[in-house]
């Protein structure tokens, strides 16, 4: 049993009797979380079966197509059984662009947060560039990086870069001044404070930045794959639009949603483990 589950008096909170209670409360929160999606599904069903719109397929048609998209064997067209290829292509770009963004944003953020000269030099520039939406970069990106995967990478990179940068700067700048005094009177001075005080103290903010950055990487993947890549969920959605195959668009959307959700839960789980010392950091 970890200390996180014990109170200040050292008495473990989770007793066997409480285990059943915990399961019930988990089921309850799962049930509550499903209410709104279920209502949406019902509305979708009612709206499409009553022909309020002719352009959107029914949930049943869509789910049949989803099965075909993932496993194939129903329609056997160009997209049957190809979901994993597109998902893998998108994931490569999402995680690749995200990793690249983290690689640049973390050190730059640490510099801006810690060194006044770096802040004066770089902060105004980034503040100026930040409001420009990723979509606006699309044409320039295609000129600079060509049509294809490199452009997609660059756009995902841009989307993930700013939240990581800003939260890193915030975390580094907002370390409680008392902790520096405490460290210095304990004999930890100068540059040694960077690793023993600044970095751990900024970790919750940095982590928030990484989480937001990864979320945004998924968010901009469709724009990123507007650059003429043959594979990827964004490319599937663009193809679906061109071919007027709305069910393909919806399937692509659902898979992006689920993949983004799972990826976020994994990040949160890692964060909860790394930041179990932090009272207000349990996502």
């Amino acid at each position: 049993m970890t200390m996180a589950q014990t109170t200040a008096t050292g008495v473990p909170v989770a007793t066997p009797a409480a285990g059943g209670f915990q399961l019930a409360s988990r089921l309850r929160s799962l049930g509550l979380a499903l209410v709104v999606p279920a209502l949406l599904l019902i509305f979708w069903h009612v709206a499409t079966t009553n022909r309020w719109t002719r352009l959107i397929p029914t949930p049943f048609e869509t789910s049949a197509y989803m099965v075909d998209f993932v496993w194939g064997g129903i329609y056997d067209d160009a997209f049957s059984g190809t979901a994993h290829i597109h998902l893998l292509a998108s994931m490569t770009r999402v995680y690749g662009g995200f990793a690249l963004a983290a690689l640049f944003a973390l050190p730059i953020g640490l510099l801006i947060g810690r060194i006044p000269l770096a802040r004066q030099l770089l902060d105004p520039f980034f503040q100026l560039m930040r409001p420009i939406p990723v979509t606006a970069w699309l044409p320039l990106s295609m000129i600079l990086f060509g049509l294809g995967a490199r452009s997609a990478f660059a756009l995902v990179f841009l989307g993930a870069f700013y939240p990581i940068l800003l939260n890193t700067v915030f975390g580094v700048k907002n370390v409680d001044g008392k902790l520096f005094e405490a460290a210095s009177m304990l004999g930890c001075k100068g540059n040694a404070q960077f690793f023993r005080v600044v970095l751990p103290a900024a970790l919750p903010s940095i982590f928030t930045g990484l989480r937001l950055g990864l979320g945004l990487a998924w968010f901009v993947i469709v724009v990123g794959e507007m650059t003429g890549v043959p594979q990827g969920l964004g490319a599937v959605i663009m193809d679906g639009r061109t071919l007027s195959r709305t069910e393909l668009v919806i399937c692509g959307m659902i898979i992006i949603g689920i993949a983004g959700f799972i990826s976020d839960r994994i990040v949160v789980a890692i964060g909860n483990r790394m930041l179990r010392w932090s009272p207000n950091h349990h996502g």
Binding site: D176, E181, A182, S184, M185, P200, A201, S278
Partner: protein
């Protein structure tokens, strides 16, 4: 009384002026104080009397505008493990467990791991937190956190412990317990303690000498040796006499200020 030995801490004609929104504020004016090894000193006074400033100068967090602060005759220029600080709001490292908070000083100074572990266990034990060695600060009560903060400076071989209203945020019962525990530790370790407080009773209960400070600008008003035998009974008539006397000293100055 002529003491041949050097004072562990000496404050010589120290003044401190701060710049506050373009204005000069004099926090401390012409302070003189000599502290001998092993003494328990309390600094008491209303807010703005410069008691915390004086303590921070002793710690090396602030430099005097004029005059000098010395430890063993040498100027205090920066914070040093010899002078441990205990803050009112604990200032523990929230990402470190109780054990690692206490180990922070020894490991920063390059004490070998095995030796550091022994030191840490000894001081965790001294402050009675063995059962909570792996807990994080946010899981502890205020009193327990302050015990960690005390153990942290003790584990770092501090000769002087500077305490800035350390029990100010605690409830009365916890405060009394910690006062007694602090005296036990002080007696057994022969530490020198400088303790800032605004509570008269606490100042008298703990100190060998109570230094009264007055605001506007901050000055040392008087230095009062406490001769009452320990353990001191705060309900005894003698204690009350002293309390009345000290309270008079503090309040007469409030009167002057208000007039």
């Amino acid at each position: 009384m002529a003491e041949p030995s050097l004072p562990i801490i000496e404050i010589r004609n120290v003044s401190k002026t701060f710049q506050l929104q373009g204005q000069e504020v004099q926090a401390l004016k012409g302070a003189n104080l000599a502290i001998r090894k092993g003494e328990f000193i309390t600094l008491i006074g209303a807010s703005g009397c410069g008691k915390s400033t004086l303590l921070r100068i002793m710690a090396g967090f602030e430099q005097p505008t004029s005059g000098e602060a010395l430890m063993w005759g040498k100027p205090i220029t920066e914070p040093d493990p010899q002078r441990g600080m205990v803050f009112q709001d604990y200032a523990l490292f929230p990402w470190l467990s109780v054990r690692d908070n206490i180990a922070f000083g020894p490991t920063s100074r390059g004490v070998p791991r095995v030796q550091a572990r022994e030191i840490v266990e000894r001081f965790i034990d001294m402050v009675g937190l063995s059962r909570f060695a792996d807990a994080y600060p946010h899981q502890l009560s205020g009193g327990m956190r302050q015990r960690v903060a005390i153990a942290r400076v003790l584990a770092n071989d501090a000769e002087v412990v500077l305490m800035d209203e350390p029990f100010g945020a605690l409830d009365a019962m916890t405060r009394e317990r910690l006062q007694e525990e602090l005296l036990d530790i002080w007696r057994s370790t022969k530490l020198t303690v400088v303790f800032v407080t605004h509570a008269i009773e606490e100042a008298i209960f703990l100190a060998d000498r109570v230094v009264v400070m007055t605001p506007g600008p901050g000055r040392i008003e008087s230095d009062n040796p406490m001769t009452l035998r320990r353990p001191r009974d705060i309900a005894s008539p003698e204690f009350n006499d002293i309390r009345r006397f000290m309270s008079g000293k503090l309040h007469s100055h409030h009167g002057i200020k208000a007039a």
